[in-house]
């Protein structure tokens, strides 16, 4: 008997909110899509005020009880949970209403990083996307996001990732080809594009030649390339070093037209070398006749 009563009371407690929502003085939808038109039916007669209140939007409307109040499409457009209140001189009725984001994506917030990186980096490029509807509500239902990274020559990497709670991310390898890559995120008909600059990596090696010229020696590198064959851009510094009788002379020279060159004193027995960053070139020992 006690168990039966407990069950009965529990059932009533659980059922009560549903009864209010469906059979109270306000007959409002429990859920609508953002920007969708909807109606609220009230019972009784006389003047009343209808309020729809939430942190993201507030509506107030003078109504006649017993009539249907229509809300035009676009009026209630911010996703959220709302309290619906019908207030007249002698009564207050309440209901709750959920507004969900519209299903059609309209805007992507696409963050791609970095904007520039060397070629050939595994998972070096990341992209993160948040998907919004036309009213800037985050669309939280899963949606497939296509990410595509394409090089100027047309090579592409593509991935499709479903959003969780409105967000999706991917990681892509930087390719072997220098240049401006297009990184595109697409959801439905909405796309967003970012440009990712791929620059050559470190030189794969430095090969230097030495040509005596009177009291000096002319040092020059061969055109510098990374390990994928991309030309190292002008401006990168090559450091030439001459070691002679425990003294060391270093000169930093920027690449011009792919090569670095410098004239240094020609000391018999001097050791000449070139380096750029962590890459060492060959050494030449100067032997004069």
């Amino acid at each position: 008997m006690k168990a039966t009563m407990t069950l009965l009371v529990s059932s009533l407690l659980i059922a009560t909110p549903c009864l209010f929502a469906q059979a109270g003085e306000i007959q409002a939808p429990q859920s609508i899509e953002a920007g969708g038109g909807f109606s609220i039916q009230t019972t009784g007669n006389g003047k009343a005020t209808l309020y729809i209140v939430g942190p993201n939007q507030v509506l107030r409307r003078d109504v006649e009880r017993g009539q249907t109040t229509s809300f035009a499409p676009g009026l209630l457009h911010n996703a959220g949970h709302y309290l619906v209140i019908l207030r007249s001189d002698n009564s207050i009725d309440k209901s709750e209403l959920d507004v969900t984001a519209a299903r059609t994506p309209s805007e992507l917030s696409f963050l791609a990083k970095p904007s520039r990186l060397p070629v050939g980096i595994h998972d070096g490029i990341t992209g993160a996307v948040y998907v919004f509807d036309a009213y800037k509500n985050l669309i939280t239902s899963p949606a497939p996001v296509s990410f595509e990274l394409s090089t100027p020559s047309g090579a592409t990497q593509a991935r499709t990732v479903a959003t969780h709670d409105g967000a999706a991310f991917t990681a892509m390898d930087s390719t072997q080809e220098q240049g401006a890559d297009k990184f595109v995120a697409r959801v439905g008909a909405v796309t967003s594009t970012r440009i990712v600059g791929q620059v050559p990596g470190d030189p794969c090696g430095i090969k230097m030649t030495a040509t005596p010229s009177g009291q000096h020696v002319q040092l020059a590198t061969e055109p510098l390339r990374d390990c994928s064959g991309n030309a190292i851009p002008d401006g990168m510094i090559v450091t030439f070093t001459e070691t002679y009788q425990n003294a060391q002379t270093t000169v930093d020279v920027p690449l011009k037209k792919g090569i670095a060159q410098i004239s240094m004193p020609a000391h018999n027995g001097a050791v000449l070398s070139a380096a750029s960053g962590v890459v060492m070139g060959n050494q030449i020992r100067l032997e004069r006749q």
Binding site: P55, N56, L59, A79, L83, D98, A128, Y130
Partner: protein, 169 residues
């Protein structure tokens, strides 16, 4: 792999709870382990704590702002779309002669996404609160609500700011 450090949550929970207890006016704050699909970037405890602390503070500022219809109280913890929408709500409240009070009794928070470049954190929060609606200072309705919110935060100069803020029941 993600948020390995956060899998051991007691330290974080204690820290955030301590902060949150002050920030959220004694609301119970529960921090869930991060979601599995989180993102490739490891989220440090300090970062997570700071984001959650600022998110909880944002509720304080939201509550005060909507109660007093003072939009200047919002900009410390809100930015972008969230700030715009809350600002519009405030204008609508003023036009309708309304003010609203949100007294939060509990938060149940889970970080669900940390973007790879570290520039956004997304969390969900099942919030229980008492909502009061006043017209010209007179109470017209009071309702206890339990709602799941979603928020996206981005780092600003001094704290994390809420950029997306919406309920998603």
């Amino acid at each position: 792999m993600i948020l390995k450090s956060l899998k051991c949550l007691p330290a974080l929970s204690v820290l955030v709870f301590a902060i949150a207890s002050q920030a959220a006016s004694q609301a119970n704050v529960r921090i869930e382990p991060p979601a599995a699909q989180q993102g490739p970037r490891e989220l440090q405890e300090q970062t997570a704590s700071a984001a959650i602390r600022d998110y909880l503070q944002s509720w304080q500022s939201l509550s005060a702002a909507l109660k007093q219809n003072r939009s200047d109280l919002l900009s410390t913890y809100f930015a972008g779309t969230a700030l715009d929408k809350l600002g519009e709500t405030m204008q609508e409240q003023v036009r309708a002669g309304l003010s609203t009070g949100y007294k939060v009794s509990s938060h149940d928070i889970q970080i669900v996404f940390y973007s790879p470049e570290g520039l956004s954190i997304e969390l969900t929060d099942t919030v229980e609160y008492d909502m009061k609606v006043l017209e010209h200072g007179k109470l017209i309705a009071n309702q206890h609500m339990r709602t799941r919110y979603i928020a996206v935060l981005t780092p600003a100069v001094e704290q994390w700011k809420v950029r997306v803020f919406q309920a998603m029941n």
